[in-house]
Symmetry: C2
Subunit: 167 residues, 2 copies
């Protein structure tokens, strides 16, 4: 069939993804978004990419600031992923999901077991979204990262990977 | 910790992904690669992105040809994904994984339930890889696509999503 927005969305409902939360500063304070569109591009130099919809509230800050933090999200932080995907929610109220700042200033959430501080090196306009390419400057992996179950987003549902899902 | 290739790889071992197989023509016939780095970028116009390592055999063809097919892979086609990830294997011997061509010429595998014929609109060099941005021209979704279990790649293992993994 020819490609329409509907058939395109139907096709990608068959494509699972990992989940990430991205934080950065804006002119009005820290902002955060949830992305199911993050992948590693290159290990040497370490680079990653994700996309942000132009209509997302984080789009403009991502065009203005190059200092970002990418958190890889496990099942334990599913509610953080939902919070940062929710339009208009205050992600930094700090009552449940506490946050801190790097010495270099970038805001980050304390809970996720893996996070990567990045410098945006390229922005590529692509249809209704922008591809953000980042070089990774600093990596944090908590001691209990391996004990956390990976989270997968698929067709508007969330899944846990564990011994029961392995092939 | 500071970012090294090793810590970067360790970080992304915590990031699951869907699986895709990409086919296209080269000067020596059809080529195929498996990618765990595909995501949808924009629904209107329909666009997707993936990355290919510069040292991959499909890298040069992807710089020379703009007509590609992206197959989204289910558990039923796990062996096709493994075949297309295997260095030096003949992906198009056709003894198990039969293939065809669109009227417009692009080679594709018959088995996957979802495939998207694309025109490459942009190539972005990023470290040791190239980001390939494609506009989707044509979409195929088989009648039994919903019945096929989604496949996830995570930390060098393969997982199946089903009712048992849903949260």
């Amino acid at each position: 069939m020819s490609s329409t927005a509907d058939s395109f969305k139907a096709a990608f409902r068959h494509h699972p993804s990992g989940v990430a939360v991205i934080t950065l500063d804006s002119t009005t304070g820290p902002v955060a978004l949830t992305a199911s569109s993050v992948f590693s591009v290159s290990a040497e130099p370490p680079m990653l990419v994700f996309s942000v919809a132009k209509m997302a509230s984080a789009s403009q800050p991502l065009h203005e600031s190059s200092d970002i933090v990418v958190h890889l999200i496990s099942v334990d932080q599913i509610d953080l992923a939902k919070l940062c995907a929710q339009r208009g929610a205050d992600r930094f109220a700090g009552d449940v999901w506490t946050w801190s700042r790097y010495e270099t200033g970038e805001p980050f959430f304390d809970a996720p077991a893996v996070r990567l501080r990045c410098r945006v090196t390229e922005r590529v306009e692509a249809g209704a979204s922008t591809l953000i390419v980042g070089e990774v400057l600093d990596i944090y992996i908590s001691d209990d990262a391996d004990a956390q179950a990976p989270l997968v987003y698929h067709d508007r549902e969330w899944h846990r990977l564990d011994d029961g899902s392995v092939l």
